[in-house]
Symmetry: C2
Subunit: 207 residues, 2 copies
């Protein structure tokens, strides 16, 4: 069976869980505790060359790293990655844009906020926000004119871009002005099999 | 004929020129002047959604953006991108690593140095160097134990990673300790059809 190594709040790992769910693939989930240094242990470093999650261990035991590469590998031959060469290249282009222009600019301020370091590191956050807002502005312009990032259908590009973008508020981003992004995120969440980052706690579970 | 829009010093565009040369593909090269704002002109924005180089315009007139996506598109079906699904995913993983962990950390200090702003922006450079050295350390460890980034052969992963890494000294990086990287870069430069960023000026041309 497939095995996914992730951490509880990892946005890059979340992307893989969304796609695995939408593909209906069963997998073992191994959630590492970053605070306890579990990604730095020798056994994990043997399957993750840079000691990071996510790692997807294939049925034959070989590990795959880098969320974008894992998404493309799993989506091959499915409706989540078009067969047309031009559309495939477009999907990959959005995945590279996310890693280069958005991921770190959202993830780092988010971690600082979650760890109560936002005040102390406000200069770093301001610089990262400048980068991140520039990327979000580009995405919003696109989303205002297109239902999906590539072609006429939901693809792994929508999965890859929506994960951290939907977590940007946790990193102190003001997302109210990005109406294109907001409506697109609602379409993404409405896709069959989509799963939230954390289990949703309903009223019954709270009572 | 294929048409490549680039700029004179763009490392991301250089990657495409190396692969086009190695594939023996003829193309028109249109070199834009960033100082004159040529990437911001309306005609260019119509083919480059985020007003950036490189753009590869295909024979049918459709434009492709993002250097990683262009490399993968051109390399499909050639020895520069393995057919094996696992090795393909490994190649893509390295391309994502480069965009997430190395490209900006090298490119931004390089631009600041080239524009004479290194002194004024030394705090920014110091922060970017911290990120960049972490990525270079990972790459160097890999290169010490492997001739090529993926499998037993030179692939687009070697092209994509070597471009900015070979320009890191222009961004103030001290590369002397990275012996794995140095030897790997020499192997990359030795590949048939490899081309330098700028035309090499021989002694005759200087005399």
């Amino acid at each position: 069976m497939l095995r996914l190594y992730d951490s509880l709040l990892s946005g890059n790992s979340w992307k893989i869980r969304i796609l695995l769910s939408q593909l209906g693939l069963a997998y073992d989930r191994v959630t590492l505790d970053l605070q306890k240094g579990e990604t730095r242990e020798a056994a994990f470093r043997r399957i993750s060359r840079f000691a990071r999650v996510p790692v997807l261990v294939l049925e034959d035991g070989r590990p795959l790293v880098e969320s974008g590469a894992i998404l493309l590998h799993l989506a091959e031959g499915t409706p989540y990655l078009p067969a047309d060469p031009y559309l495939r290249a477009e999907v990959m282009g959005w995945l590279f844009f996310e890693q280069a222009d958005l991921q770190k600019a959202i993830a780092v301020p988010r971690v600082l906020h979650l760890h109560g370091l936002a005040q102390e590191r406000q200069d770093d956050i301001r610089r990262l926000h400048a980068d991140g807002y520039a990327g979000l502005e580009k995405l919003d312009q696109w989303a205002l004119g297109h239902a999906w990032l590539v072609g006429e259908h939901y693809t792994v590009a929508d999965i890859a871009l929506s994960a951290y973008v939907s977590l940007a508020e946790q990193g102190g981003y003001d997302m109210t002005r990005f109406t294109g992004i907001r409506n697109w995120l609602a379409r993404v969440r409405g896709q069959r099999g989509w799963v939230p980052l954390l289990p949703e706690v309903g009223p019954t579970a709270n009572s």
